[in-house]
């Protein structure tokens, strides 16, 4: 497990150095210059803002929709298992394919299906990635991750205490009351876990942005992961990119702390 530590230490080490691949001879220790450079770079703040906007939007959408759909799909109805398979499928599509489907076939302003459907009811075609870049990414990522939330919630719903539910119904509680007072408390842990795990994944959304908007227009969809990629592999500034990496790690660790506590609690049970 030491192998995970080596790159980590190296990131930290590089983040304190002046290290540009284009001018390797000027390599040397420069203290916190990379960090202060990043801190004064408006791109970092834009990226942090985008990261948090993307993360919180998708989180709200996936948990909300996931919950509603989990309740719906836990009912008994005709063809449930097939419907479930259809609904969770987006989660298994590789991110680059997802991004291309949405970019070329659905959201394309000229040939996309959305534009056509909008046109039927008289709406002008929208250049999704030009005018609403962040909203587009949010929609795409949500489509991919709602099934994950749904799957976890469905699994958790199966273990709701039936007797407790029946007792509540017998006492004359309505469906909403039962959901709020019996089912929701039972799902609390599942919701917590979904939120934390999704946060860790959403901190570093990359492929969807890479394929659709390439971080643009301007910096409109550049998140922290994409900024680090730009700094490291397009601008070859290892020092600054590493400093960005450290910021990402610190953010993730805050989330991880809470996630680990939940997992540890489950283990002890």
């Amino acid at each position: 497990m030491v192998w995970m530590l080596i790159p980590l230490v190296m990131t930290f080490w590089f983040s304190l150095q002046r290290y540009q691949l284009l001018s390797p001879q000027t390599r040397g220790f420069n203290g916190g210059v990379n960090f202060s450079y990043l801190m004064t770079d408006p791109a970092l703040w834009a990226a942090l803002f985008n990261t948090i906007l993307l993360l919180s939007s998708v989180l709200i959408i996936t948990v909300g929709l996931g919950l509603l759909m989990a309740v719906l799909f836990s009912q008994d109805f005709w063809g449930r298992s097939v419907a479930r398979i259809l609904v969770i499928s987006p989660f298994f599509v590789m991110p680059t394919v997802t991004a291309l489907i949405w970019k070329n076939m659905l959201m394309h302003p000229v040939n996309g299906l959305f534009g056509f459907l909008g046109g039927l009811v008289g709406l002008p075609a929208i250049d999704w990635f030009g005018d609403w870049p962040m909203a587009s990414i949010i929609i795409i990522v949500s489509w991919q991750w709602v099934p994950f939330a749904l799957l976890v919630f469905l699994t958790a719903l199966q273990s709701v205490d039936r007797q407790q539910k029946e007792a509540a119904y017998l006492d004359g509680a309505g469906a909403l009351v039962v959901f709020y007072h019996v089912v929701l408390p039972h799902l609390k842990r599942a919701i917590g876990i979904v939120v934390l795990i999704e946060m860790i994944f959403f901190l570093t959304i990359f492929a969807e942005i890479y394929v659709t908007t390439n971080g643009g227009p301007g910096l409109a969809t550049t998140n922290l992961a994409f900024l680090i990629y730009i700094k490291a592999l397009l601008e070859f500034d290892i020092g600054v990119a590493s400093a960005g990496g450290i910021i990402a790690i610190v953010l993730a660790n805050i989330v991880a702390f809470f996630l680990m506590r939940t997992v540890a609690r489950t283990m002890d049970e």
Binding site: M1, M4, P7, L8, M10, T11, M69, L72, F73, F77, W78, G79, A83, I85, L86, V87, I88, S89, P90, F92, V93, M94, T96, V97, A99, L100, I101, M105, L106, N111, L113, W143, V152, T155, A156, Y169, R189, I193, I200, A207, Y210, T212, A225, I228, A232, I238, A241, S242, G245, I246, I249, A252, N253, A256, L259, M260, V263, A264, T266, M267
Partner: protein
């Protein structure tokens, strides 16, 4: 409403099916586009009724670079899964059957490495790989994928091994089974389903892995995720072929995903949701 009326149930079914079809629609649309001619694929209004053709699939297969990318995906996924299992089985076995007072902490610490954002270590991994010549190589991606998935696999296998009843092992021992026999005749058959589903999960995760694939490969070892991303330039004229290629790329994983829903939940939530 414990026993909803028939009509209410029908409404639920209709609603659920509507959502299911809506969610699946983008995939279905891509699938359909794969069978259109290139002209039909970009037609406005979109062609709902068209003469299906398999021409795109034939062409996709004829193209060497698609087959190469598919093979790369296969080699990387299988290689990494084999390597990860090789490491994870003994490790989780030891954690489950020979626990020490540090086992719990070691397990949790391993999990915490999984929570490290990949992008945080992109730079050093890229530089190490460049210096030892692993950039754009199968081995490089196999190693990275193994590192990424190992904690999940150990965690999953650990929970499978934990469920093996100890009485069974003791019964074997009373019947005179040595350690080797115990492994072969008691544990392995019991753990085999668990190992199989862990392998499935690992293949799915490797197959769909995009971040490292995009950053560490260019051509030689580029798997399907990277190959498909190379079409992101607006080449409007190749949509049908791209759809055919994408359909082929996601079909096996879609099926595997359907088969391993439960393990997926357990693996990705580290056993906290069962």
């Amino acid at each position: 409403m414990l026993h909803p009326s028939k009509q209410f149930r029908r409404i639920i079914a209709g609603f659920a099916w509507m959502i299911a079809v809506l969610m699946f629609f983008p995939i279905l649309w891509m699938f359909a586009t794969g069978f259109k001619s290139e002209i039909d694929a970009v037609a406005t209004p979109p062609e709902l009724f068209f003469t299906p053709t398999v021409e795109n699939y034939i062409e996709v297969y004829a193209r060497a670079n698609y087959v190469k990318a598919a093979l790369n995906s296969l080699v990387i996924s299988l290689g990494s899964t084999a390597l990860a299992l090789l490491l994870a089985i003994p490790a989780s076995f030891a954690f489950a059957f020979f626990p020490t007072k540090n086992t719990r902490n070691t397990l949790l610490w391993m999990l915490s490495t999984k929570m490290l954002p990949s992008v945080g270590v992109l730079v050093p991994v890229y530089l190490i790989f460049r210096d030892i010549g692993l950039l754009d190589s199968h081995l490089g991606l196999i190693i990275v994928n193994t590192m990424m998935n190992l904690p999940i696999l150990i965690w999953l296998l650990f929970s499978f091994f934990k469920e093996v009843p100890h009485e069974l092992l003791e019964a074997g021992r009373i019947d005179g089974a040595g350690f080797k026999e115990e492994l072969r005749f008691v544990l392995l058959p019991l753990a085999l389903p668990g190992i199989a589903s862990s392998a499935l999960l690992s293949i799915i995760l490797c197959w769909n892995e995009a971040f490292w694939s995009l950053n560490l490969t260019t051509y030689n070892a580029a798997p399907l995720t990277a190959f498909i991303a190379s079409f992101s330039a607006p080449e409007g004229l190749f949509w049908a072929k791209l759809s055919a290629a994408s359909t082929l790329a996601i079909a096996p994983i879609l099926i595997m995903g359907w088969m391993s829903q439960r393990q997926l939940v357990q693996g990705l939530t580290f056993g906290a949701v069962k």
